[in-house]
Structures are given as structure tokens and as C-alpha cells.
């Protein structure tokens, strides 16, 4: 199987099959990130489509200074943030409609354990809803670090911030998340 860098090089040279392979390989995680940032399955789909269009346009200028996956995380994060900025100001991120959208999508994915399945699923739901209520500036790094498992360095690269600033932003995000969980 070709590695990402090789596929990206071939795709930049016009190899449609290589581009298709990248899309197949990375779309699931890009959708996951988009869903967790926007909280809406429909918007996450739009974000993923916009992201791949943007990725295709900038493939030729991709310098391989970061991993392809990190670069794609940056593309999808930027697309999701652009969508959030375009949202009508009257639509709050805390709108129940938004939350129900994310619940439906994510609840369907629940992998129940043999015992205490309801409690665990509810706790997870509460965490995802609480993350959805955080300010965008806290939600995005939290999604990338805590849910996607990126390293501090990778998240800093995706968000184009230094690691020190990221660490303090993440600490505030974690504290805010726990406060949200305590309140509910």
C-alpha cells in the first residue's frame, strides 16, 4: 500500500487514482473532526466536501513539511471554522437542534459495553454535548487533542500556534469542560 506522501505526490501530478485513495483513506477521520467541531451531520458533510476541494487545489503547493494527515487535519479544521463563521449569528452553538443532530449521529455509533452500558453511553453523550457548548477556541484544540489523540506538537501545527500557548489554552478548555460536566 502506498504511503500518504507518495499518494499526495502522485495526486499533485494529476493521478486521479492516487487522489481517490487519499480521499478513501482520510475521509472518515475528516468527517469525524468536522462533526465534532460543527455538531451537525449535514454541515460536517459540507465541510468534508469543501475540505477535499481545498486540498485538491493546494496539493501542488504542499511541501511535505508536515505529514499529509496533519495537513488534512488543518484543512478540515479551517473549513469547519469557516463554516462556523458563516453561520447566522442568531444560530447559537447551544441550540438544542444542533445538539440533537450530533446526538443522533453519535448515539447511533455507540459501542455498548456488557455492563453499565446506559450509564457509560449517557456519560459519553454528556461529554460530547459539553464539548459542543465550549467556545470554539477551546472546543477545537480539545477535539484534536482529546478526541483525535493528536500530539501537542501536531495540534499546534494544525492550529498554527506555539506549543506553550496551546498547552495553556487546552488547560483552560479542560477546566471549562469539567465545569460544564459538573453543572449538568
Amino acid at each position: 500500500m502506498s504511503d500518504d506522501a507518495d499518494l499526495a505526490t502522485r495526486a499533485a501530478a494529476g493521478d486521479d487514482a492516487a487522489f481517490g485513495a487519499l480521499v478513501r483513506r482520510h475521509t472518515p477521520r475528516m468527517y469525524r473532526v468536522a462533526l465534532r467541531i460543527t455538531g451537525s451531520a449535514a454541515e460536517a458533510e459540507d465541510v468534508v466536501q469543501d475540505s477535499w476541494l481545498a486540498a485538491w487545489r493546494s496539493l501542488a503547493s504542499f511541501r511535505h513539511e508536515s505529514a499529509v494527515s496533519t495537513w488534512l487535519y488543518r484543512v478540515v479544521t479551517n473549513s469547519a471554522l469557516a463554516l462556523l463563521r458563516r453561520r447566522r449569528p442568531t444560530v447559537s452553538l447551544d441550540e438544542p437542534a444542533d445538539r440533537s443532530t450530533v446526538d443522533t449521529a453519535l448515539l447511533a455509533a455507540a459501542v455498548p459495553g456488557p455492563e453499565g452500558r446506559v450509564v457509560r453511553a449517557e456519560e459519553v453523550d454528556a461529554v460530547l454535548r459539553a464539548i459542543g457548548r465550549l467556545e470554539v477556541s477551546q472546543r477545537v484544540p480539545l477535539v484534536l487533542r482529546e478526541l483525535e489523540g493528536l500530539s501537542y506538537e501536531e495540534v499546534a501545527e494544525v492550529l498554527d500556534v506555539n506549543v506553550g500557548a496551546l498547552r495553556s489554552r487546552l488547560h483552560r478548555a479542560r477546566v471549562a469542560l469539567l465545569a460544564e460536566l459538573r453543572e449538568r
Partner: protein, 137 residues
């Protein structure tokens, strides 16, 4: 206080770790939709020859432009459902309010979109308006 200093040691953080493990299924057909969208984004819908080169506008851009114009120009009794570029023409799907002369409003909207698109792109594209639904007043 200890929780505030190190949130990851809070017992509730187990639920955050569990949230990270929860699988998020990719919607069926999403990869194919992405590939089609990218193909549309690459396909040239309009080419305007110039003295030193030509201007190429992709289907994706034409559809977005037409969609914005349709939203802006559609009268109150018309709702724009979808806009796409297919078969070398802009296809606009609309719903009209019950009781309105559908053919007249559709034709007026078609002319508005055609004129404005032509103005913005520098070439005239075929625009088809399809009345696909009616809605109550």
C-alpha cells in the same frame, strides 16, 4: 482544587476518554459524494477566450454563483430548493406558493438568473428553472 490543577485526574475524565473511543460511522456514500464534488470542482463549465489566455470557471463556481443569484432574486412566493450545473446548463429547482402562476414566476426567475450570470461571467449560459414542488402560503 486539585481537579482544577489537573483536570485529567478528575474521575469524570474517564468519560472524555470513552468519548474519544466512540466510533463515528462515515455516512454511506460520503466518499463517492466527495469524489463527485471534487470532479465537479475541476470540470470547466465556462471558458471565456481572451487575447492573452482564457478564463475558465468550474462547474462548482458557476453553481455557487447561480445559487446566490437565485436566492437573491427569487420573489417571496418562490423557494429555491437546489442549483446544479448539469448537461452544460444551470438547473434550478424551485418550489412555488400554491395559487401562484408557476410558469410566469419561473420564467421571470430564469431570465433574472440568465441576465445576472451573463453579466458576471461574460458569457451567456443556458438556465433551466424546474418547478418541482408547491408549498402553502
Amino acid at each position: 482544587m486539585a481537579e482544577l490543577q489537573d483536570p485529567e485526574r478528575d474521575p469524570r475524565w474517564d468519560a472524555v476518554r470513552a468519548a474519544a473511543r466512540r466510533r463515528v460511522p462515515t455516512p454511506p456514500g460520503l466518499v463517492e459524494r466527495v469524489l463527485r464534488a471534487v470532479a465537479r470542482g475541476r470540470r470547466t463549465a465556462v471558458e471565456v477566450p481572451g487575447e492573452t489566455g482564457s478564463l475558465r470557471v468550474t462547474e462548482n463556481v458557476v453553481a455557487r454563483l447561480a445559487s446566490a443569484i437565485a436566492d437573491e432574486r427569487a420573489p417571496g412566493e418562490v423557494r429555491v430548493s437546489a442549483v446544479a450545473v448539469e448537461e452544460d446548463a444551470v438547473q434550478v429547482l424551485v418550489s412555488v406558493r400554491f395559487g401562484v402562476a408557476a410558469d410566469a414566476v419561473a420564467e421571470a426567475l430564469r431570465q433574472e438568473i440568465t441576465t445576472e450570470l451573463s453579466h458576471r461571467l461574460g458569457v451567456t449560459m443556458t438556465v433551466n428553472v424546474h418547478v418541482v414542488d408547491v408549498h402553502p402560503g
